[in-house]
């Protein structure tokens, strides 16, 4: 394939107009020794059908099994409306809406997304998305230490271990000290706030459990409370974070209308209180008017951003996850209030599976606490060997050595009761 429409005669006449003879005359600023003398060692062109054949062949090296994997990435149904909208070239092939007069579609969609995230979280302000859940959280950590002026943050060990690794990477670059808080019975245990800017809690946490944010907030009046969520579908069922006076809410939004995609792209969600609106990283769409007085939308408060404030910007982020954000918006409005029922169904399936597993000899629930759609069980090795054609869950012992033989199991509407019963049958037979 080739996507360059100039014909040989076009090229010739253009070179003449420019006043050069050879295309290489246009590369004369490059030191001659550097010009490549031989073609790149990359295979030559393919036709569309050859390419698809090749890709399908590679794709078959993956294997899709019945899977109960979660832990930061979730297999949810994507309503047919989502693809219908995101595959429109007017959305997908547009740049960042810096020219609002011909970007009202993107801008209004951002504004509506921001509104829906504010509704779900109860927060005042949401941006137009970050890279992913982990980097949203890392940027919040930096934001908090800038606001509070202390280069130390508390991080619960019940925060997703991959996210904690990303936090460490960003903390090292920013010379921020991370103090990890132990987990007790699956929940964040005691801590001291002195010397810290913020505390980072995930809820539902990595074990699927709902953290006691009321208690945590009472102990953290002097520092910022930052939350992380990897399964924001839980928000449709749980009390919004604003009711616990959370300062910064972050999440991975992949669950909302984006495929698993081997871990990306999804979208980073970040929402805060009004007080921090000028500190928030990334883009914001705001309402305004055009010269005729018509309501319209534009990117706003841009002086926070790198293209204006350069080294003093609140973040270096430029490209975000726009199209994934659009998918999330379409997803949320397609479900509307029924999102709560979807959340309830996810929870019911998990409660059902957990209850049945707990009755089986050799399988134990590890934590006896309310969870949303993920839970931890310890499975005896001989039972596990019966499940070779099922991905039963995320093995936890790599991340938590004392959780040997423990698995994080996730249920969604894509693991219906029949599938769960099949697994139970395979275990008990």
């Amino acid at each position: 394939m080739d996507y360059t429409p100039n014909t040989d005669s076009d090229r010739e006449s253009m070179l003449k107009e420019i006043g050069v003879h050879d295309i290489m005359d246009l590369f004369k600023d490059i030191p001659e020794d550097l010009i490549l003398k031989s073609p790149l060692r990359i295979p030559d062109q393919l036709s569309e059908f050859e390419l698809i054949r090749e890709l399908e062949k590679i794709s078959k090296k993956n294997k899709k099994l019945l899977s109960f994997l979660g832990g930061g990435n979730y297999n949810h149904h994507i309503p047919s409306t989502v693809n219908a909208v995101t595959s429109r070239g007017e959305f997908s092939t547009a740049y960042t809406p810096y020219q609002p007069e011909i970007s009202q579609g993107t801008l209004q969609a951002i504004f509506e997304y921001q509104s829906m995230i504010c509704e779900l979280t109860g927060m005042d302000v949401s941006n137009a998305s970050m890279y992913d859940g982990a980097t949203s959280l890392a940027e919040s950590m930096i934001l908090a230490s800038r606001i509070k002026g202390k280069k130390q943050v508390l991080v619960s060990q019940a925060v997703n271990p991959f996210y904690r690794e990303v936090l460490k990477t960003y903390a090292r670059a920013n010379e921020i000290r991370i103090v990890e808080i132990d987990v007790k019975d699956g929940l964040t245990s005691d801590f001291e706030t002195e010397g810290s800017s913020a505390i980072i809690i995930q809820s539902p946490n990595f074990f699927g459990l709902i953290e006691n944010l009321d208690e945590i907030r009472k102990k953290t009046e002097d520092i910022l409370l930052i939350t992380s969520t990897t399964e924001p579908l839980s928000w449709a069922m749980l009390k919004p974070f604003s009711e616990y006076d959370v300062d910064i809410v972050t999440a991975e939004g992949q669950s909302f209308g984006n495929p698993m995609n081997f871990g990306g792209p999804g979208l980073g969600i970040i929402a805060t209180k009004n007080a921090y609106v000028r500190q928030i990283p990334g883009r914001l769409a705001g309402e305004t008017v055009d010269i005729h007085g018509n309501r319209s939308f534009a990117l706003t408060l841009c002086t926070r951003e790198q293209h204006i404030r350069r080294e003093r910007a609140t973040s270096n982020i430029c490209t975000n996850e726009g199209l994934c954000m659009l998918a999330a918006a379409v997803y949320l409005v397609t479900y509307g209030k029924n999102l709560r029922r979807l959340a309830q169904l996810n929870n019911q399936l998990a409660v059902y599976f957990a209850g049945k597993l707990n009755q089986i000899e050799g399988i134990d629930m590890v934590f006896d606490k309310p969870f949303f759609n993920e839970f931890v069980v310890r499975i005896r090795k001989d039972i596990l060997s019966k499940l070779s054609d099922i991905e039963i869950g995320v093995s936890l012992e790599n991340y938590y050595p004392d959780l040997k033989d423990c698995y994080l199991i996730c249920c969604t509407e894509m693991t219906p009761k029949e599938d769960i019963d099949r697994v139970l049958h395979e275990i008990t037979q």
Binding site: R278, C302, T303, I308, R309, R312
Partner: protein, 128 residues
Amino acid sequence: MKNPVNLKYTKEHEWIRIDGDIATVGITDYAQDQLTDVVFVELPEEGKQIEQNGNLCVVESVKSVSDIFSPISGEIVEVNKALENSPELVNHEPLEGGWMVKLKAINEAELDQLMTTEEYNKFLTGIE
């Protein structure tokens, strides 16, 4: 020229007016015109001590961010809270309603280093 005679000026286009032991600071008409529409003024905390040429506040237009420096040293006694909701005052009335900060305990000797109206007007002609 809109520049009244009872003010003194800096090369960074700030003005300062002395009333008794209080000095009021803002930016000149020329400065507001260069900045274009001001959309936000980040004001300092009251009670803060500021050095001459120290960072007094930050003025933002839609596409730029500019530091405003203190013409003299002193203690910030009052900031113009009206700018929080009406930053456009800086454009519309740069020398009156658009003032930014009042200082006390000022170092009057530093005033001598600033330009008079006549000098500032001449300075502007040099820029243009």
